[in-house]
């Protein structure tokens, strides 16, 4: 049909249908139907390209319940890029009007308000009001020239229960005397919802906006606390938007681990946290970015912590269910997967689950509440701030 489709077909031809991907897919395990697993999703994508099937509600359900967790890609012995194929299928479906309502609501919100919650951009720093000291810092630091730019992300900005994430990082950076800035109301959504919905072309405008905004402030390094925003800045602005950011892009866990390595961040004299703590690898940091060691190093540098690995960890980490925009299509699925992760945490006696992604944080936290588990969910920035005595326990 056209070059893109031919490329896709070529990518899919590598599949020998061995079902190795199906054997580890969390959504297939929960739902059972072939179309809710990677082999079926690839089959549907190719069937659509070949004109054997037309997209419909079932296909939307199938392609948009992929968590984009990349486990299938990692495990595929034939090197099939399942995630990329599924995202291309979503793009085709988006263009044909078959993206799910939940995705389209986000897309519309982004177009209207530049954030996924359709809130006023004036409220972008509403999170800082939860802490008077931080509020003052944020006010001083917004849109100032600085070497470090902090990209908060929509979830941290607008979801009250996640405000501890940006508060913790801001307080930590301030405590360490770092030269940083924030974009305030000039911070828009990174564009991840466009990408997940299938409207990847729409990322370009956001790439231009954010790159120019940080560039104008002389930023040399952008730190993101959201694993999704981080990957968009790091890869998609160039791969999809066609603009390479002229600054370094790091996730908070890399940023903090680097400070620890350089002795700027000292945890050995800080607060002890005498708890059994585990790290949940967010898919977008782990399998997508191979960032396994930094968060573990940070957590284990905190005095008092008894660190334990979850049963499925690092490359084998199980998605918490919060990824891929799945909750919008099948909220129950997200919760069922969160409960499985909580169950794993309980099995090792974890008292705290730490992660580095607000979507994981929120979803696992919901699971903890539903399971009535005696476990606390924390972000990596939060536990570091607590160790530094910046957050009250």
């Amino acid at each position: 049909m056209h070059e893109k489709i031919e490329n896709w077909a070529q990518a899919m031809l590598k599949c020998v249908r061995c079902a190795k991907c199906n054997s580890i897919c969390p959504t297939l395990e929960e739902r059972g139907w072939e179309v809710i697993g990677p082999r079926g999703r690839i089959r549907m994508a190719l069937g659509m390209l070949q004109g054997k099937i037309s997209p419909n509600e079932l296909m939307t359900q199938g392609e948009y319940t992929c968590l984009i967790c990349n486990h299938c890609v990692d495990i595929c012995p034939s090197g099939v890029e399942c995630t990329e194929i599924i995202l291309h299928a979503r793009e085709e479906m988006f263009n044909r009007g078959f993206a799910p309502e939940s995705s389209m609501m986000l897309v519309e919100a982004l177009e209207e308000s530049h954030n996924i919650f359709d809130m006023e951009q004036d409220d972008r720093t509403i999170w800082s009001m939860m802490d008077a000291d931080a509020e003052e810092v944020v006010e001083d630091r917004t849109n100032t020239d600085a070497k470090i730019g902090y990209f908060v992300g929509c979830l941290g900005s607008f979801m009250g229960r996640l405000s501890q994430i940006p508060l913790s990082l801001v307080k930590t950076m301030d405590h360490l005397g770092l030269d940083f800035t924030l974009l305030g109301e000039d911070e828009w959504c990174c564009g991840s919802p466009y990408y997940l919905a299938g409207g990847r072309e729409m990322i370009k405008e956001l790439a231009e906006h954010h790159i120019s905004a940080f560039n104008n402030l002389g930023v040399e390094k952008v730190v993101a606390t959201c694993a999704g925003c981080y990957r968009v800045f790091k890869h998609l602005y160039e791969d999809v938007g066609g603009i390479k950011p002229p600054f370094e892009v790091v996730h908070a866990n890399e940023f903090l681990a680097d400070l620890l390595d350089r002795g700027k961040l000292q945890l050995n004299n800080g607060n002890s946290i005498n708890k059994v703590v585990t790290w949940h690898d967010p898919c977008e940091l782990g399998r997508h970015e191979l960032q396994y060691d930094n968060p573990r190093k940070l957590i284990q540098a905190i005095p008092g912590i008894m660190y334990k690995e979850l049963p499925a960890t690092r490359e084998d980490a199980r998605c918490c269910g919060g990824g891929g925009g799945v909750k919008g299509v099948d909220a129950g699925l997200g919760m069922e997967l969160a409960l499985k992760r909580v169950e794993q945490a309980k099995s090792i006696g974890a008292e705290v689950i730490v992660s580095g992604c607000p979507a994981c944080y929120d979803n696992i936290n919901e699971g903890i509440k539903k399971a009535e588990a005696n476990i606390k969910m924390m972000d990596i920035t939060e536990i570091i701030a607590e160790a530094l005595g910046l957050n009250e326990e």
């Binding site: 020998v16 061995c18 079902a19 139907w33 419909n56 012995p77």
Partner: protein, 482 residues
Amino acid sequence: MERKSIDKEKLNEFLTATVGKESFSMDPVMLLAFATDASRFEKTPDVVVRPSSTEQISKIVRYCYENEIPVIPAGARTGCSGGIIAVYGGILLDLTGMNHVLELDVDNLQVCVEPGIVNDKLNEFLKPHGFLVPGPASSYAATIGGMVGNDSSGKEAVNYGTTSAYVLKMEVVLPDGRIMTVGSNALKTASGLNLVGLFTGSEGVLGVFTKIWLRLIPLPEAEGIAMALFDVLENAGKAVINTFKAGIIPGCVEILDKSSIYAINQYKPEMQLPDVEAMLLYEVEGSSFEIEPKINKIAEICKDSGAIEVKKATEKAEIDRLWEARSLVGAASVRVREGYSRVYAGEDLAVPISKIPEMLTFLREASQRYDFPIVTFGHVGDGNLHPAITIRKEVAEDWPKLEALIEEINLKALDLGGTVTGEHGIGIARARYMKREHGEVALDIMKAIKWALDPKNIMNPGKMALNEDPETILNKIPVRTI
């Protein structure tokens, strides 16, 4: 063969009442997803049903019997022979939802399971109890029902036998909907005709398994591995024969020929496998004190048979590393030549062990003649080879060439006194060799058995050349590109 058209409205009503709306689908998207297995064939069923009980299956099969609708039982659909392809449409029973362990009876060394349980999941369950059920290389996905249906096996068959060696008893829904329980909870029986044996490996043409009782194998206490390298292919064959002659039955013996070694090194250069003509991987299982002497003896035999080097391992990490090479080879075949990907065809021959070198040489020569990369590996301990043929799936002229190559490979295996399938089954892909391999009389007997049990030919029709001309079936089923 002409089939009656299906009254979909009536079927919809029946299924809604029998399994509920959420447990079946006639959506074309769903049907396409169930149109395939790992073979090169594709055909959509008319409906996919995910039943949850014997009673539901019995009602469905009875309905199909009365209305002459084909029924295709399916597991994980990782088969390579088109065994679950809905040749005439009909109802595909996706049994993967019936995946429970029903009863573990350790005292009597057996477990009763539903057919949809995955081999690895069952073994996860059995491990704390100290047992296992051996399975194929696809044990991560293969269901017990599918394994029994194909009489599957893998690398351990040389030691444990094929799946039929563990099936004690089964509950089967017969083509008219009757439920039969056959076999015994005793670990052996000499009673009556061996119907358990008949149904095992019947590829869904005689009925639907709904419960399966399996004999348990104790988990080996320890294991060790020997890797022997050969610069002369025939010497690898000699080494295997000499091992058996010395009275050693290894846990398994696998062979990787030059093409496999090349493929693995392309895929994972860090493996750094030596560029030799053949590599044998022996696994030895048993009590901890037995392992080392056995491995040493095998190493000695291999050296005496001409191995240029033998590496031994009894530590788990090293064993896993050596096995990794074997586990990667099938998929690594796609890495050999850019643009070529694997087709499951002619991939499961077995020959007498002494004929392995001749078969390997033939495959290497055929690969050059057809200009298709063929990566060959397999379970040399029982003569079972898996040539992974790779072609350009999008190039039309490669397909007829592939057909000619498969024909040559399968006929060569038969000429050497072997079989066209060691463990993957007949299905559609190998149906045309049934008469050649078994002879007219044996095939007539098989047809008579099928007719006696399934006079309306509703159970997985179009397979194994039992009712239809295999060439007609092959012409009827489109070859797909993925």
